[in-house]
């Protein structure tokens, strides 16, 4: 019988060292073959599958005591799942955490890439629900594996063709498929296609972890990442009509906030850290309050 006392001891960053080594080997392989999905023996994590277990395992395996961690979900540091994952690593690894993109050495994200360009030495870890870009066209793993191996990606364009035939333009708005290093078609995880260009030749290392589906893949720094399109229907990102209502930023991804039940709404930065930075620097949007005034 196990007594409760000696039960709850966990290794640094939760995973045992053997597991970390296994995951690091998968990561190295992923870096060596950009965009290729490396199978790995994903572990059960103390948070549910689908809630970032892949990202958490990758982060746990690369995190050292000197790292500074930032966790975002939907671009924000204060969404519940981001808070929960950040608290998890504070508890099991006792690492420094931050909300500042520039200060972080490791950033775990769900559904967004920070607005501030990432720099050399930073690692962006994505949480991935379904790593297989062909999955909804072909449900069988045995078949999709073959399609990747033989570079048979015609089906991917069939989907884009159908979008245009039906809607007049490509109707994929997030998880927009990309080709990495002129070889593998890859799912960038459900980030809005607005963020796709940020992956291209990024200075940071980008790692993708899918826990439930047991896959790790990577984009090494400075790698070519091209969003799939047609010559006469080139890839385009979302454009917003107004700047952020709080900080006045343009060319950033905005969230819609419903203000009342009469159709009142405002658009604000999805990247909360970026918005705060700008407001601290004195930028004020249409509905924002200048920081200096607010402080008084």
């Amino acid at each position: 019988m196990t007594s409760a006392g000696n039960l709850a001891t966990y290794n640094f960053a939760y995973l045992d060292e053997q597991t970390k080594r296994m995951i690091r080997r998968a990561i190295l392989k992923a870096i060596a073959i950009p965009g290729y999905q490396v199978p790995f023996a994903s572990r059960e994590m103390p948070m549910p599958y689908g809630w970032g277990t892949g990202g958490v395992q990758v982060t746990a395996s690369i995190l050292g005591p000197d790292d500074t961690l930032k966790v975002i979900d939907q671009g924000a540091d204060d969404t519940t799942n981001a808070v929960s994952i950040r608290a998890f690593f504070q508890k099991v690894a006792n690492v420094k955490v931050t909300t500042k993109t520039g200060e972080a050495t490791v950033i775990q994200t769900r559904h967004r890439i920070p607005e501030e360009p990432l720099t050399e030495g930073q690692v962006l870890v994505y949480q991935v629900p379904i790593p297989e870009p062909l999955r909804f066209l072909e449900p069988r793993e045995t078949e999709t594996r073959k399609m990747h191996a033989l570079e048979e990606y015609g089906l991917m364009h069939v989907k884009l063709y159908e979008d245009i035939a039906r809607n007049g333009h490509i109707a994929t708005t997030y998880a927009y498929p990309v080709k990495v290093g002129e070889r593998y078609v890859m799912d960038p995880s459900p980030i809005p296609k607005f963020d796709n260009p940020k992956m291209h030749r990024s200075q940071a290392l980008q790692l993708f972890g899918a826990g439930r589906e047991k896959r790790i893949y990577a984009i090494p720094p400075h790698t070519e990442v091209v969003s799939l399109d047609f010559e006469d229907y080139p890839f385009e990102i979302q454009k917003f009509e107004k700047p952020c209502a709080l900080c006045g930023a343009e060319n950033v991804y905005l969230d819609e906030v419903v203000l009342d039940d009469k159709g009142g709404r405002m658009f604000v930065c999805s990247d909360t850290d970026h918005c705060e930075d700008r407001r601290n620097a004195g930028h004020v949007g249409e509905l924002g309050v200048a920081q200096t005034e607010a402080a008084e």
Binding site: A149, L150, G154, H157, Y161, E162, A165, F230, E231, Y233
Partner: protein, 258 residues
């Protein structure tokens, strides 16, 4: 150019456990030639078609194909990537049931365009235009280009399947009972269409059918199969007008009696 066959089949055999699928089949197929394989169901004709087209792996024998560079290649030893590329560019396969050869939930235009996109075409407008051309060639109205084959009649589906196969200008097409399961009047129209396309494009084809009328109308040469073996082989008119084997005589006479 026609001094060499397109396809050389030698001593091909396939067994299912102790049962014979087909055995010791050899023949050559020439560019632009249509070969019919006839026989009752269970005679091994579909097994033979699948072995020749590499959809099944034969137990004995070889299939060699003359590539566009003029070199013969043994299909069994070809790398899978190359073979699959060959199958979707230089070959076509028309299934008896169009649902097996089409993407039923994808528009007619995309069904035809898929092969083009698979070989790297990246211009939506041009892909759509080519798809439209092919739809007209198989007598499907341009107004149906964005409809899914689910909404098509059996005859239309079969014509769409043919267009989907021919868009990359293949040199060899395999057909498994292409008119099976269709009404007689629809069959006649489809046969006419296939005959016209095969002639215009100079296609070589291997057609499996149990229907001697189909063989008569489409093929130059025919092979009669029984119990997995080819029992008679010759020019179509000769075999049908002057069958030598008793079994072939029986087949031919049973048609005439109807």
């Amino acid at each position: 150019m026609n001094s060499q066959p397109l396809l050389k089949v030698s001593d091909l055999s396939k067994f299912y456990g102790g049962r014979i699928g087909c055995t010791k089949v050899s023949f050559d197929l020439w560019p632009g030639e249509v070969l019919a394989i006839v026989g009752e169901s269970g005679s091994g004709k579909t097994t033979l078609l699948n072995c020749v087209s590499t959809r099944l792996t034969a137990d004995v024998g070889s299939v060699e194909y003359r590539m566009r560079d003029g070199q013969f290649r043994n299909l069994a030893t070809m790398a899978e990537a190359e073979r699959r590329f060959l199958m979707r560019t230089d070959w076509g396969f028309v299934h008896q049931n169009p649902a097996d050869g089409l993407r039923m939930t994808v528009s007619a235009g995309a069904n035809v365009g898929e092969r083009l996109m698979a070989i790297g075409d990246r211009h939506y407008g041009q892909i759509r235009e080519t798809a439209g051309d092919w739809l007209s060639r198989v007598e499907i109205g341009l107004d149906r280009i964005d409809d899914q084959p689910r909404a098509f009649s059996g005859g239309m589906r079969q014509r769409l399947q043919i267009a989907r196969n021919l868009v990359t200008a293949p040199r060899l097409v395999f057909m498994d009972e292409p008119t099976g399961g269709l009404d007689v009047s629809v069959q006649a129209r489809l046969l006419d269409l296939i005959r016209g396309l095969v002639q215009d494009l100079g296609l070589a084809a291997i057609v499996v059918t149990h229907d001697l009328a189909v063989a008569r109308l489409l093929s130059h040469r025919m092979m009669v199969m029984k119990d997995g073996q080819v029992i008679e082989h010759g020019l179509t008119d000769r075999v049908l007008d002057d069958p030598r084997e008793p079994y072939t005589q029986l087949l031919v006479s049973s048609i005439l009696q109807v």
